[in-house]
């Protein structure tokens, strides 16, 4: 068993009716790396991600985490194993405040979740952790605003905060920059990179935008039509003609 590999999929497949969304995908993710999965729309990235995070069950194949099989774990156990995920479409508690959103995320690992006679603010460690995360993602000023009132970019940050709060070993980020203004993207990427480096975390990132991941990731896997098309360092991927074809459909001259 190679302990350097933290997440591994073995012949993972998912079929929806006649459509094979994910087709025999084998991916190994190294510990403490920033592993990006990219591909054009409809390549099966999000389905693959849902398989990784346990949101849907695969038709066949396995998801291994630190050498143990997590394929049929219920979704709510994943974070307890140390895997947290964010969503492409912002998925938060819209009527609760930013603070409560993050606190709910960090509270998940508390032992005293069933102490219904105790005020939640007495979970001091959790409270502390919440503030720490909110500060890290830069939402301190908006902490007591209902989440739905936040602009889109801030909601993406909140989403990131919610996955950071329980301090998972592996972060699954589904298009964390989706819908953000171009100038905000580098800021968020820097944040993700910093979290990965300083916190010794493994980040698996899905993007359909190749640019976003080129500068930050260690390894890139390119998916196309449910299959792995190529895998390698950003430089290798950038030079791969096959990838260019899949991505841009043959318009190479754009990328010269």
């Amino acid at each position: 068993m190679n302990h350097d590999i933290i997440v591994e999929t073995i012949n993972l497949s998912k079929q929806f009716g006649a459509l094979v969304a994910v087709d025999n995908v084998n991916i190994k993710v190294r510990r403490n790396s920033l592993h990006a999965i990219i591909g054009p729309n409809g390549a099966g990235k999000t389905t693959f991600f849902n398989l990784l995070s346990g949101n849907i069950e695969p038709t066949s194949g396995k998801v291994m985490f630190k050498g143990s099989d997590l394929t049929h774990q219920p979704v709510h156990r994943m974070i307890h194993h140390g895997i947290g995920r964010s969503f492409q479409i912002t998925n938060i508690f819209p009527n609760l405040t930013v603070f409560e959103n993050v606190r709910l995320a960090s509270q998940a690992l508390e032992k005293s979740n069933f102490k219904f006679w105790m005020n939640v603010s007495r979970l001091e460690k959790c409270e502390y952790r919440t503030w720490e995360v909110i500060e890290k993602v830069g939402l301190k000023e908006r902490a007591h605003a209902p989440a739905r009132t936040l602009p889109h970019g801030d909601q993406r940050k909140l989403e990131l905060g919610m996955i950071l709060a329980p301090d998972p070993e592996v972060l699954l980020l589904d298009e964390p920059t989706a819908g953000m203004a171009a100038e905000q993207v580098p800021e968020l990427l820097a944040l993700i990179q910093e979290i990965q480096k300083t916190g010794n975390k493994t980040v698996i990132l899905v993007e359909h935008n190749m640019n976003v991941v080129m500068s930050v990731s260690d390894i890139i896997t390119v998916m196309h039509l449910g299959k792995v098309l190529a895998e390698g360092t950003p430089a290798e991927i950038a030079a791969n003609r096959e990838v260019q074809t899949a991505y841009l459909g043959g318009l190479y001259e754009l990328n010269v």
Partner: protein
């Protein structure tokens, strides 16, 4: 320390004033009919005794509606079988006192067990059915219970469709002689459960329940076994509803099978909707409004009362869209904003 205590009083002055008024109410009503507080204390006053009775009914109804608000308003589970929670408490008390002559503490212990059991029963189906289907399944379960208590096979215990009569109420709390005491007991139980629920909503468990109402899928992703939390809310709710049932059985001369009926669940739903969904205090205010409306209309209009109640519901839906407390909160926020703007205009 002193400051903290003061701010406690300051922050809760409205609730405290209401509480104070409720404590004094029987005596003040007594004064109006010319009875001194001592007379009231000895349960001699006519009108004040009557007002106490009305108060007790409201407290019981409020307790029941409160328990519904916990699962419906806070946790977001639409149940059509809530009446069963109440009816189990009421029938169990009546039967245990009448047919088995158990002591009151034993009865309450029994009710506590039954409350847990029926919450588990509802919980059993939770992973299978959601939304309106859950409502229908709970409706089915409650209907089964209703059918059981009205069946003639159990008539010796439940009184079949006539209802349970002749419950031997322990004399120290007998509403006929010790109504004032009963009034305070009911008030205290209501306040205790209300405070417990307030704490619950702000506890780690309660916050998760709110999260489940808002977005259950996400709550699961965050690592919560949402089933367990829903079950916890169900248990807490079932216990309070059963307690309301106990008080009902002790207070009323007869436990009618109507309390196990769908329409009694609908009563809880209406009260919560009148007061404001998920606000807890809305359930209390809703129960007050509901019972007084019901009583007043029946008394002064008689037969056609439900025409007016129906019209009032329709008017409520159209003009007080989020219930009394809910709409008040929205409005008061706007009122406060208006004031602030006005003050700002003066300052510049």
């Amino acid at each position: 320390m002193q400051k903290k205590a003061f701010s406690f009083f300051h922050n809760n002055r409205a609730s405290l004033i209401v509480l104070f008024a409720l404590v004094l109410l029987p005596f003040i009503v007594g004064l109006f009919e010319g009875a001194s507080p001592i007379v009231v204390w000895e349960n001699q006053g006519g009108i004040s005794k009557f007002v106490e009775g009305l108060g007790i009914e409201i407290f019981i109804l409020a307790l029941y509606a409160l328990s519904y608000d916990l699962i419906f308003g806070v946790t977001g589970l639409l149940s059509f079988g809530h009446a069963m929670f109440f009816a189990v408490g009421a029938y169990l008390t009546g039967i245990a006192l009448k047919s088995f002559a158990l002591s009151l503490p034993a009865v309450i212990g029994l009710v506590f067990l039954a409350a847990i059991l029926q919450a588990l029963l509802f919980g059993l189906v939770l992973p299978r059915v959601k939304g309106i289907t859950f409502a229908l399944v709970t409706l089915g379960m409650a209907s089964m219970f209703h059918i059981i208590v009205t069946s003639s096979e159990l008539g010796n215990y439940t009184g079949a469709d006539v209802g349970l009569q002749g419950v031997m109420v322990p004399s120290f709390i007998n509403p006929a002689n010790e109504r004032l005491r009963f009034y305070f007991v009911a008030l205290v139980v209501l306040i205790l459960i209300y405070l417990l629920y307030q704490r619950f909503v702000n506890s780690p468990t309660g916050r998760v329940c709110v999260a489940i109402r808002e977005n259950e899928g996400r709550a699961k992703m965050l690592g919560y076994n949402t089933f367990a939390f829903k079950l916890a809310a169900l248990m807490l709710s079932s216990f309070a509803a059963a307690l309301a049932g106990v008080l009902h059985a002790l207070y009323q001369p007869i436990v009618s099978p109507n309390v196990a009926d769908l329409s009694f669940t609908v009563t809880a739903l209406l009260i919560v909707l009148i007061g404001g969904v998920g606000t807890l205090s809305g359930a209390l205010i809703g129960a007050f409004v509901y019972r007084l409306l019901d009583f007043g209309l029946r008394r002064y209009i008689g037969e056609n009362a439900s025409f007016i109640t129906g019209t009032i519901y329709v008017a409520f839906v159209l003009f007080i869209p989020y219930g009394m407390v809910g709409t008040w909160r929205l409005k008061s926020f706007r009122v406060a904003q208006g004031w602030r703007r006005l003050l700002a205009a003066f300052k510049t």
